[in-house]
Symmetry: C2
Subunit: 333 residues, 2 copies
């Protein structure tokens, strides 16, 4: 019974004894069709297990119903969550999502990824690459296709959605200051990551506003390993009482280093992270951190893209508020 080829509109039409146009009307619910005819057509569709040919449809309508996402091929919590947020919103609206990952977010790789997606005739592109180089490459990208950046930094050259990094970092820093600390140290993310820059800048500014001197910065690369190294360095600082770490993974490494160095958290030092990964509540000790609603980011990203596809020119920036989650790492001593 597997007759080799997929059934076409015409096949269905022949079986139902109507023209292919009538079948098209039934399938797409466009134009009037009598109940009797519709039933016959539907039966034929069922019998042949007809599936519309997306290529043919795309060819004639000029719309593929596909969105492209450029993402890092990492399993970093943020990008992965955002991807699923976008995919979910897109699917609900009848779009499908194809991904192209880049190992390292340099200008060339991003440009290639975008070109790859364009060859797929995607209707719009999301770039999840909160990275300076990525942002740079967006400047030179042709602007003849709907495009949205996720986490593109303060002055992205294209419309952008992101969690408000400054807001989050400010909350974290002020939380620590409110606990009475003289100052707050910072373990930053990689310089070339915009989110790292934003968090660092907000931390610095918050200290300044409170007339507190900023200690020197320790820099990591988001990994637990680098957080561990940072922790070893900080463990040698005499008057260290509070640390704001730019993400949870690094905070984990830092906690480990502190444990090994005999530094108690929260007894001797208070620590705040960023991201609120699902595991953060079970670190030792449970980590105070800044939660980012990536699902919401994904949703708004899709909405933004949909607006552009519809030909409207939506707001250039959209920030999602961050939320401080207080746990034991900044608890009573």
């Amino acid at each position: 019974m597997t007759s080799g080829k997929q059934a076409s509109l015409t096949d269905v039409a022949d079986l139902a004894g109507v023209s292919h146009m009538t079948v098209s009307r039934v399938v797409n619910k466009t134009g009037p069709v009598s109940a009797a005819t519709r039933a016959r057509v539907l039966a034929a569709v069922e019998k042949l297990s007809y599936r519309p040919n997306s290529a043919a449809r795309a060819l004639v309508t000029g719309k593929t119903g596909i969105l492209g996402v450029v993402t890092l091929d990492s399993t970093l919590y943020g990008p992965a969550s955002t991807l699923y947020g976008i995919e979910h919103a897109a699917r609900e609206a009848g779009y499908s999502v194809t991904i192209t990952s880049v190992g390292t977010p340099n200008t060339v790789a991003i440009a290639e990824a975008i070109e790859t997606l364009r060859r797929q005739a995607v209707e719009g592109i999301v770039v999840i690459a909160p990275h300076a180089a990525a942002s740079k490459s967006l400047e030179v990208v042709p602007h003849d296709i709907p495009l949205v950046a996720v986490g593109g930094g303060q002055q992205a050259p294209v419309p952008m959605i992101a969690v408000d990094q400054s807001d989050g970092a400010r909350r974290a820093t002020e939380h620590l200051l409110a606990l009475g600390h003289k100052t707050v140290w910072h373990v930053a993310g990689p310089v070339d990551w915009l989110e790292a820059q934003d968090r660092e800048a907000a931390w610095r500014q918050t200290l300044k506003r409170h007339r507190v001197r900023a200690p020197r910065i320790i820099r990591g690369d988001w990994s637990s390993r680098s957080g561990y190294a940072a922790g070893q360095v900080l463990a040698r600082e005499k008057d260290l009482t509070a640390v704001f770490v730019a993400n949870d993974q690094m905070a984990l490494g830092l906690l480990r280093a502190f444990t090994e160095a005999g530094i108690g958290v929260p007894k001797d030092v208070h620590v705040v992270g960023f991201d609120d990964v699902p595991e953060a509540a079970y670190f030792s000790p449970p980590l105070t951190t800044v939660r980012q609603d990536f699902i919401e980011v994904g949703r708004r990203t899709f909405r933004q893209l949909a607006e552009q596809i519809a030909g409207r020119e939506p707001a250039a920036r959209d920030l999602v508020a961050a939320e401080l989650i207080v746990r034991e790492s900044t608890g009573p001593r």
Copy 2:
């Protein structure tokens, strides 16, 4: 200069003063074209920034160059890593990947996801859903499209690639037994996850082979929270000295519970996890665990699919070996 529409083969042909067929030959490097003509065509292509229309091509060739992946919309380390492994291998071979995520892997959701992908005219489908229900739904899926399951359990109804769960669980259990423990407790994953079943079965079998009685099982849901709960339960067991936890996230929660209960790891109890998430080396204490090479899984998955697309009937199962990574959680007391 943005002339509204994308240039077509004919536009290029007109500009270069040749027929559209010649342009096609140049673009696809099929058939002979004189050097002079090729140069003229290429110049025209460049000038108009011509991009082949994938829909038109797909319509006539019947090939879309798209692969579909059904995945969980979770940020679980395993599925996410596998996805990127597949995407990478696929892109190298000129395929692009579209994803469809399912919140919970029940039969209906999987079937819908597959149908959604088929409407996209994907050339092959990967189902990353190491779940009993997913496996079930694969039994009833039409077999007229190349399909591969990742982590589909021992008797998947379709070709399957996976890390050898039994092998990994056996290594973990034997490692603990070799350290002299009377027995090994097990915190298992959800019953309806095939990997959880495999790990549990291998643990039980290994104990049996060593003529050791298996303690009762504690069951979690992969989350740190459930691992924490399991840890609280186990903390009340008198003769507990060794625990094999079915994944690293749960192991983290368990470590936390043990810490709160005053149980030392590795001093009082030895703990082994599964997955080797990047953070595992920085747990307190660093976690002995079983590493799974998801990139390799992704690579082989794509290869499998490519074979099927090429019309060959490849091996039904392909297992990737697991590796035991020994760290402090099973270290000297």
